[in-house]
């Protein structure tokens, strides 16, 4: 069974986790066109490669982001939302971003 590293609880077997889908940046709902919005909610890029994904550690109730290469099934990094280890990858919290746009 695969192992996954929860940023709060450490390395655990996959059976303790739930997959929460691909992480996608929400376009600004006030300024995006219908087409942009529809593509956000409906379209998924299924090409293999490194994806950001939501994962949930069930016993502790921890959501986090995993960067996973879907071709090799290798997890490159896991971190809490908004706390990417590499500053350039940091995703700003939604609320703040909405205000700035």
């Amino acid at each position: 069974m695969k192992l996954l590293n929860c940023p709060m609880n450490g390395t655990r077997p996959l059976s303790e986790f739930l997959f929460g889908g691909e992480f996608r940046e929400m376009p600004n709902p006030d300024t995006s066109s219908d087409l942009e919005w529809a593509s956000y909610v409906h379209y998924r890029d299924n090409a293999p490669g490194v994806k950001k994904e939501w994962w949930y550690h069930s016993p502790s109730g921890t959501w986090f982001i995993a960067e996973r290469n879907t071709l090799s099934d290798e997890v490159l990094a896991t971190y809490l939302y908004g706390k990417a280890p590499d500053a350039t990858k940091t995703t700003k919290p939604r609320a703040k971003k909405e205000q700035s746009e």
Binding site: M8, N9, R12, S15, H57, S58, P59, T62
Partner: protein, 221 residues
């Protein structure tokens, strides 16, 4: 003020064992099962005790640790660890900012915490706790856990002050090890609604391995 006595969530699963019930801390729990001599042996091999009656207090939020400290309790510095917050009282830090306080057989800290007032405590929220709680001890305890839990729980891997939120018998549970009257035991908490199921699984395996149910009396005599 509470006139009604609670019943342990595990009671439904204990019917067949016909335990002698008694009230501890306002909750009816199994005091003894097969008598002191048998339960003493079970305790040494693999004994399972329902301690859902231990008083519990839960709190979470960024100011939860501060509030507990103000009430005179020690809180763990590391995430997912525990300390004896007051004599006979465990304080578990669940993740970063949630705490579970549990009075042991002789602890008495939770009573004082019930003064918590949400309106006057910004950044801390009370968490109503009604977990089913168990003590698992004896020479075969780790053998049992190696069937129910995928994690490495040997002493070399499980720090003595560690709290692990993991799955036991397929359901979410919180687990730690502690020393009880010189004996190393494991503590397991799970959602109250899973209490009967957890008891059934723990007991089924305990009995296979030569152990069995241990009442509150035998556990703490």
């Amino acid at each position: 003020m509470t006139a009604l006595i609670k019943t342990t969530p595990v009671a439904y699963a204990q019917h067949e064992q016909k335990p002698a019930m008694g009230v501890h801390n306002g909750m009816e729990v199994a005091l003894s099962f097969e008598g002191a001599a048998v339960e003493k042996t079970h305790k040494q091999v693999l004994g399972v005790t329902d301690v859902s009656c231990f008083a519990k207090f839960g709190i979470k939020g960024p100011k939860a640790a501060d509030w507990l400290a103000k009430q005179g309790l020690k809180t763990p510095d590391e995430i997912n660890s525990w300390v004896e917050g007051a004599p006979g009282t465990l304080v578990l830090r669940l993740g970063g900012s949630e705490f579970l306080v549990e009075d042991q057989i002789k602890g008495n800290a939770c009573n004082g915490l019930s003064t918590f007032n949400q309106d006057k405590t910004a950044g801390a929220y009370q968490v109503a706790r009604a977990d089913a709680a168990f003590i698992l001890g004896g020479s075969q305890a780790l053998n049992l856990l190696s069937e129910l839990c995928v994690m490495d729980l040997r002493d070399s891997a499980l720090a003595s002050n560690a709290v692990v939120m993991t799955q036991v018998a397929g359901i979410s549970a919180t687990l730690l090890r502690e020393s009880l009257a010189g004996e190393q035991v494991y503590r397991i908490w799970c959602d109250v609604s899973y209490g009967p199921y957890m008891w059934e699984m723990l007991l089924e395996i305990a009995q296979e391995l030569g152990g069995g149910a241990v009442g509150l009396t035998a556990r703490f005599q």
